[in-house]
Symmetry: C2
Subunit: 487 residues, 2 copies
């Protein structure tokens, strides 16, 4: 499926759509989730919460989205979280120099160039304003954080560009009040804000985005804890900086030096399990191992979990061994003690981060679930992710079947997400249900009145099973149960 087909389906069915779309010229990079999108995203977040947060006995917090300037001075965002841009001298249009050069030459431009390097590349390739053809300015820098002013004096503050800073800043208080020991993961799901210069690509690049982040705090001397042995035989797909691809067990990857320790291996394997449980085939996934020059200076090793989609490889989770950079900076800037006790040793913990893009993940689930068969579209969501678990249909709207079906719907809806539909032919109703990914349909027919059974039709196999009406709720709950916690 192409990006445009997925986006069209999403808009038609109300998974997501452009924000403030009733208004002309509403800004790019902002999307609203409709009812099906809210449910799909909530169900995925619940899967993440079960498999990653609870499965690993992490803490979950929900911090403020607006944070004071001092936090982003310490984190480095105030000076470094910038994008390069150029401006047309005549019409005032604004562009990213790397995107202009890439479009003109058809070749990729390396990340993190200096302003002078961008200027040289633009000169070599002879780019002009895309709108009016005039001469462009030299490269300037634009900080991608949204600034806000607090109170009448407009005290300088910013919308967070990532959820994790509250996790770092709150770490001492959480460690003290939550009766935990190292290693401990702290998780957060919520909005982040990045003032992109020219966002395109719908859910893949947003100015207001949803992230689910995990920061694992550990004693750097204790990365070989036996609890990280659980997934040692899981295989993970790696692409090293030279472009070599391999699928090796966590154990082998550590032995080869591709992964530094058990702790890191454990979390990479857990992510593969999570995405497989979200319905992404293993062959669509890989960890891109970042080369030294592509990592931040404080990062000791970094892995991008990527999915192969219609638009190419898309980063879904950035995994980063950040050392003690974050806690050290916040400790220094705030004057607060960030060291903690680990079995009698005073430690400034190191951090391994799993930073997930939730919107991109939802896009990946949508694209990889979408199937067409002639002009019939369907979404093959796993039942626990599906917004609706079942539709309830009377076979025909007479002989009391409608009342019977409505009664069954009323019974079921207290326990499960179900909907009622009696409009159009039964085939048309199955087709509509398939289009929004409903895994099961309950059909109430004349036999239901006689023997108290109804059929459960499966979206994927198209097979039908006859079930006692009284056990429908249990059967559907069983069919749409979340997978067990990883052991």
């Amino acid at each position: 499926m192409s990006f445009d087909e997925v986006t069209r389906l999403a808009q038609q069915k109300g998974f997501f759509f452009k924000s403030a779309d009733s208004y002309p010229n509403s800004p790019a990079g902002f999307l609203d989730y409709g009812p099906l999108g809210v449910a799909l995203r909530n169900n995925f977040v619940e899967l993440w919460r079960r498999m990653v947060v609870k499965g690993d006995s992490m803490l979950e917090i929900d911090g403020s989205q607006i944070l004071p300037k001092a936090v982003f001075e310490a984190s480095g965002h105030l000076s470094n979280f910038t994008d390069p841009f150029v401006r047309c001298g005549k019409c005032g249009s604004v562009f990213r120099p790397d995107k202009l050069v890439e479009e003109k030459t058809g070749k990729g431009v390396a990340e993190k160039l200096t302003d002078g390097e961008y200027d040289s590349l633009m000169q070599e390739s002879g780019v002009k304003c895309l709108k009016c053809g005039s001469k462009l300015s030299g490269t300037s820098r634009f900080n991608m954080m949204f600034r806000v002013g607090i109170g009448p004096l407009q005290d300088e503050a910013y919308l967070r560009p990532e959820t994790c800073q509250s996790i770092f800043v709150d770490f001492p208080l959480l460690f003290k009040t939550q009766r935990v020991k190292l290693p401990v993961g702290i998780a957060q799901v919520g909005r982040s804000f990045r003032n992109e210069i020219a966002p395109r690509q719908g859910l893949l690049r947003m100015r207001e985005l949803n992230q689910a982040e995990v920061e694992v705090f550990f004693n750097p001397k204790n990365t070989e804890d036996p609890k990280f042995e659980r997934f040692a035989n899981d295989t993970i797909p790696l692409r090293d900086p030279s472009g070599r691809e391999s699928v090796v067990s966590v154990k082998e990857a550590i032995a080869q030096g591709d992964i530094p320790n058990r702790l890191v291996g454990h979390y990479l394997a857990l992510l593969v399990r999570l995405y497989e449980a979200a319905g992404l085939r293993r062959e669509m996934l890989r960890f891109r191992v970042l080369a030294d020059e592509d990592r931040a200076f404080y990062s000791k090793s970094a892995y991008d979990l990527e999915a192969h989609l219609s638009v190419g490889w898309v980063e879904l989770v950035a995994c980063n061994y950040r050392g003690d950079y974050d806690l050290g900076r916040h400790s220094q800037a705030s004057g607060t003690e960030f060291t903690v006790d680990d079995n009698g040793e005073k430690v400034l913990p190191h951090v391994f981060e799993l930073s997930m893009g939730v919107d991109r993940t939802i896009y990946a689930i949508l694209e990889s679930s979408m199937k067409t068969d002639g002009d019939r579209r369907s979404l093959a969501f796993l039942p626990y992710l599906s917004p609706f678990k079942a539709g309830v249909f009377p076979l025909v709207n007479k002989d009391g079947l409608e009342e019977k079906a409505r009664g069954i719907y009323e019974e079921l809806r207290g326990a499960l997400d179900v909907f009622y539909d009696d409009s159009g032919s039964i085939g048309r109703r199955y087709a509509r249900a398939d289009e929004i990914g409903v895994p099961f349909c309950i059909t109430v027919d004349h036999d239901t009145l006689n023997d108290g059974t109804a059929t459960i039709r499966s979206r994927d196999s198209r097979s039908q099973e006859r079930v006692e009406v009284s056990s429908l709720a249990d059967r559907l709950a069983q069919l749409s149960r979340y997978p067990n916690l990883p052991r």
Copy 2:
């Protein structure tokens, strides 16, 4: 319990705490939810989603928090969403004139005065700067929306001061794509932002807050729909503008003219059911019927659901019959058609709004759940709201009880929110569990090894029940099930 006691417990146990508290002088009005707070809030939101959103077959969306200027021009926020303030000529401190006068005179100041009226009141009462005692400026106005600039050109946009504007703006698209008919409710839960001049009072007045809002769209000719008959005999507590308090059935309130129609009565009764299901006693609740002069000019009737807490009566849900003001304004400003078809009639729907403060609700649940017995504190959360459903304890840490208890914990945690604790005496562990509102504790003793049973101890009755280990999960699930949907 006093406000300070509740806030202290919340901080000690990590329900919520001041944001960026590691930093000196971090701004007021921002709080982070810790692990127990996240779970309690999620469980309450799930109760709201079941009883209100799903129970009433509403749609739920999740819109962008940043919206363009045009939306707030149309909504009226850009010109009207202001607070009065005065400034010290010497030290620059900023105050609200009404709060200064209230503190000085001990008497309440009416809402919505003009700048001149505030100035007269200040002069009469002789208020000075609270910090340095100097003379204050006259009253100015401050728009309480946080402004942000989008892209390098900083296009004017705002953080939403309420979630509902996306519901209004998206209404035509949702009505078209979601196959719904009038009346239909559209709901949203999420952050809103209000740049308060001097917020105090923790969760009760925040600059970044959580709301759960519902907009019910209906044909004004059809407010007597029989589906709104369901709760006609429910009683609701009313306080009319003259101060008269009464508890009457919805039916009587309509007959007396205190409630204009069945539709409004239905939703007021549903809110009372919701808050009772959240553990607030009916005697703590009342609807304050707003007088004509306290309502916005477009509002046809308005009711504040208030709870009686240690700080006085606190507004939890603002209910407002907004007519067609919102859809009309957005239609006009955007040039988009907002009328829809209702059984062949072209209608610009009217709106009844239920705007809930989630943080205030969480505060109300915490305060009303907190009990002390000597120096023992406990939180009497209803089981479905409690962050943890059970703790699992070995009676002693020997004879294999630890391993047995850990095994039971591992089995249970896939299905339910449970924790393991083997530290300190069993009495101390019960006390710790009571303090964070855990409704049940499972104790594993020597009999567990012999006969495969364990005890479930109830927080509220302190009674103990012996249950087969194999049926613990089912028993706990049953004990902590959400209430049935309202019929």
